[in-house]
Symmetry: D2
Subunit: 344 residues, 4 copies
């Protein structure tokens, strides 16, 4: 039973159907096809404001390209110390931004706080000898499965903008966060001050479809050239476009996120006393202890150790196509008294 990652999921039927539907005849490439041409409009409606949307192949590319458009090579990007851009992208933001620096900020449950950002800014005053604060990136839902409230985002964007930092949101699990908050997608992005968004669909039911959404339209020309030069302007653009259109228009984004969030809550309930963070998306972090983790693995559950520094912490991620019985089995296993569980 695989709880490794939502990257292990297959694609939703709606997504595959959409790809089959566009697989007819000769169509212009590089974004000039009929489906790509509809993306801006559909996403503008989705976000309830005028946006520009660009597809890329991976979330890493979305983040790194988006950040590169708002960060000079001598710039500093402020990020939570556990953010994907810090931990899991092999230095992609630094590469795409021509050598910029990520300044890490600690914060409870994977989220930065206004105080944390303020302290980081204070510790990095700009002078000709230092990297120049340029961007703040927020992960929604966060790397620890938690979700920023719209007011939290607005407060963080306020301090960022007050220091002339652009605000980027890593929305690899955007749908899970939006479902948790129950808000209009615009409310947790541009209305709260987000300038550019990495919008993920791959984890939540697509095959390979990530997008960068610009609310601040001034950076778009620069982005398009950076994307091409990074090898992320896909030639047969109808296919990623079709995935994104289906993802939004069929409502699969919401349906899948609703299911995974609910299943995650069930797991969370079964491990309530040992949760490391509140369950607000499709991820559950549990302080199980090494013995219990070994037992669970022996019983056929697959999941990641969380954190490099401490042992005994487990991450369970629910995929949109996770079999119902996996959840039942996991909840049952977690509910049993387990020898050696670390007390918290």
């Amino acid at each position: 039973m695989r709880f490794f990652s939502d990257n292990t999921a297959s694609a939703s039927p709606e997504i595959l159907d959409a790809m089959l539907a566009v697989n007819r005849g000769l169509e212009p490439a590089y974004g000039d096809d009929r489906w790509s041409q509809r993306l801006d409009r559909v996403f503008s409606e989705f976000f309830d404001t005028e946006v520009r949307v660009f597809t890329v192949a991976t979330g890493t590319a979305a983040n790194a390209l988006a950040l590169a458009t708002v960060t000079p090579p001598y710039g500093a990007i402020f990020a939570h110390e556990d953010a994907h851009v810090v931990r899991d992208e092999c230095g992609a933001p630094e590469f795409f931004a021509g050598g910029a620096r990520i300044v890490t900020i600690p914060g409870p449950h994977g989220k930065v706080t206004v105080d944390g950002v303020a302290r980081a800014l204070e510790s990095n005053p700009p002078s000709v000898h230092t990297v120049q604060p340029a961007a703040l990136t927020l992960t929604q839902a966060s790397e620890l499965g938690t979700v920023y409230r719209c007011t939290e985002i607005a407060a963080l964007a306020e301090i960022a903008h007050g220091h002339r930092l652009a605000v980027h949101m890593d929305g690899a699990r955007f749908a899970n966060a939006a479902v948790t908050l129950g808000c209009q997608p615009g409310a947790m992005t541009w209305r709260a001050g987000v300038d550019v968004l990495s919008f993920g669909a791959t984890k939540n039911g697509a095959i390979c479809a990530e997008a960068v959404v610009f609310f601040d339209l001034r950076r778009v020309a620069d982005f398009e050239l950076r994307r091409k030069r990074a090898g992320h302007l896909l030639s047969k653009s109808r296919y990623p476009a079709a995935q994104l259109l289906a993802y939004i228009e069929s409502g699969v984004w919401r349906r899948n996120a609703q299911r995974t969030n609910q299943l995650a809550l069930r797991i969370g309930a079964a491990a309530a006393s040992r949760l490391l963070s509140p369950v607000e998306g499709n991820e559950v972090f549990i302080g199980l202890g090494d013995v219990a983790m070994r037992e669970l693995r022996h019983a056929g559950f697959e999941f990641y150790d969380w954190g490099a520094e401490r042992s005994g912490e487990a991450r369970f991620v629910v995929s949109w196509d996770q079999p119902e019985e996996d959840i039942g089995a996991l909840c049952a296993a977690l509910s049993r008294p387990i020898a050696g569980v670390i007390p918290r």
Copy 2:
């Protein structure tokens, strides 16, 4: 009738079927799925030697990443002046290689010659003041639709290796070249001295499936980190892997290339007196003159102007799913006496 590019093609049924077939259940990501795990073996058989294969999202990424693994930031990459890496990748090789330089070489019909390479090397003698010759890249089939013979590749690789240059092949249209030569894929690559290959499948029937194939296995570790950091390690790796496996194992690579090559030859025959280059793949370059080009466009044919410097030259590319009647119509139009055709 679209003759713009083989990027306008749809995907072959075999490719879509393969994607549907793997779309079941939870599978490991990032290359740990069952299909990705088979890639090395299948490509090793295809090339008749041990290779390592890595999927990426685009041909631009394949070229730039492959070249970056064999070129230091202060290196020089030798390429035909009309090569895709020069003309159509927005500086991706320079970006990925950390600022390396492409030195262009002229040559008839899109191909560099041993003399051309020798002259370029002579004009760029290495010293501490200069960029250091590091790689030679060959496009097979070339940007002008021509094909290097295996002996030509071997001679070029010999001079390159003699100067300690790595040899890269841009095989965006590898299948078309292989079909034209009728040779084992290994014969026009590693047996002729190619160290690393960009292997294209997208243009010839896939959706989004390009690969970098290493014959020289020493660079592989470096490549994997560069790929990740460029956002080209696709998470749901089963899908590109399935495309590539189907592309090779079903023989669709050969079947599609055979069809497009033959159709291109028909077009070439209809415009024989005005061909700018021999037709050796699925592209036909014709010196039509501005008037004739206008007339053809008026008649519903879509194609690119070729070359920025001269007008009156047209590029026609045949897609694997090009309707038979498009070819007939184009041949008929080309065979008619056309007013204003430039004499050659």
Copy 3:
């Protein structure tokens, strides 16, 4: 007798005196010293317009940093094919500009022409697939010792600006050109359309003092950070500042250039029938042939072969402290009938 390069020269007494004069007591660093603070004013008078001046350690740094401020990473820099930025800087412009490309332009006697630039622009039309034309760099005096007339610069700047390219001048031998033209320094720079200048003093009498002069002041903030991050913000800034002030204010810039230009003309006169380019600065290029070059070397003259492609061409550079007798000896040797001289 050394005619290798004006880099072999010592420093003028005025320069050393100036360094001794500032070598007293504790002074602010990083440009906050009294001498650095005067640079903008002195250079503004020199150029007869408001400028901002920044010292760097080498001409390579001056060129690469200046170009990086006006060229995005996906940009193209147009340069003569024999320019120092192309031939002798180990890819520094590409490095500093984050992977930008230099597009080379041929042209007689080391100079680009309006036609040459026009053709290069035509061959590199911007699209999302290509590098974006961003800058034109002119070398004054050129790599072949020739000098652009002010009207030539103005015409080149006009076409450059018409395509939104910034105009950079590599003035490693600025003084030699200014003396040849006999014009106000502003006339051959900003009045003719130059936006940013690499101003060299090292070759013409300083120890280590190069400057970047901005006529277009908008790029200055970006430049300062790039300079620091490249390790070219010198800590004990009073010393380079003192050199540059002495160089301008004592008139040593003109005196040295006048001497070297005149001596070069004498050499040119002695080899008149074999000159490869007109002598307009302190460099003389002569088609001597291999035999004569061997004989000259045997007679104790040191000089460079010119050009990697052809043999038999020699470059003689006159240094400001070149002994008078070196010139006499060289002229005598060149005037003798020499066996094996290549006819031109």
Copy 4:
């Protein structure tokens, strides 16, 4: 009375004399002069092992270039959180290393500990998703004026090498540290495991003379090209070479460091109860409190606030040419009971 920085110092007479002595006649450039040619030998004797030495213009360049030769673009450099490479170089290491990351390590008094390095390595386990640990850099003397003992360096190098990290030493104040330890320069470098050293002379009596010293000779070819391409291969190389030779051979390195260390100890003694770190070089860090700092400034003392996060902490740096009476005055001022001093 200036205690800002040792960058405010003038040059020692020995240094200026050496520059005057080499200022005669035409000499080969770019390191081919007689003085540059002696550098390797003189430094090899100084360090009691075979080394290769390269001059550069600044300490920032020395650090960034040295680190770039031992760090791939996807690499991680481990450094103390207050190191110059982190705080004061505007991202130069990231730039020169093509986008590598600096991972910061806390540690008392400006020094990293074996435990700190171990924890940092544990928190950054290499996988294809992460930056790859590549180098450990140590600042000797540290940014807080403290000095690593040879056994400390050896222990740090052992853990670094055990994880295949190269060991770099930022020796901007190398002489101060060597004098404090009273050891042979080799003892605190290669014998303790240092692979490459930034050797500073500018702060301690030179004008503009920094060097990169390689104990591990394998990286030298790569370094030379990186230096050129960064604009740090100085043309008139006799002048920096003469400075470095005089610095070593005249013993000015030791004499100046002995004086500044002793004067710093006097200041430290006068502020003993408020020292933030032990005084082991030419820097003194004192917790004075805002009121006392204001009073001192009012009395004519110039110094930096230390630390961006806390107020009330002052840094005093003694220059080699600091007037004796400055020290007396400062000690007297520090010895007076000062209102508002923060208790520690």
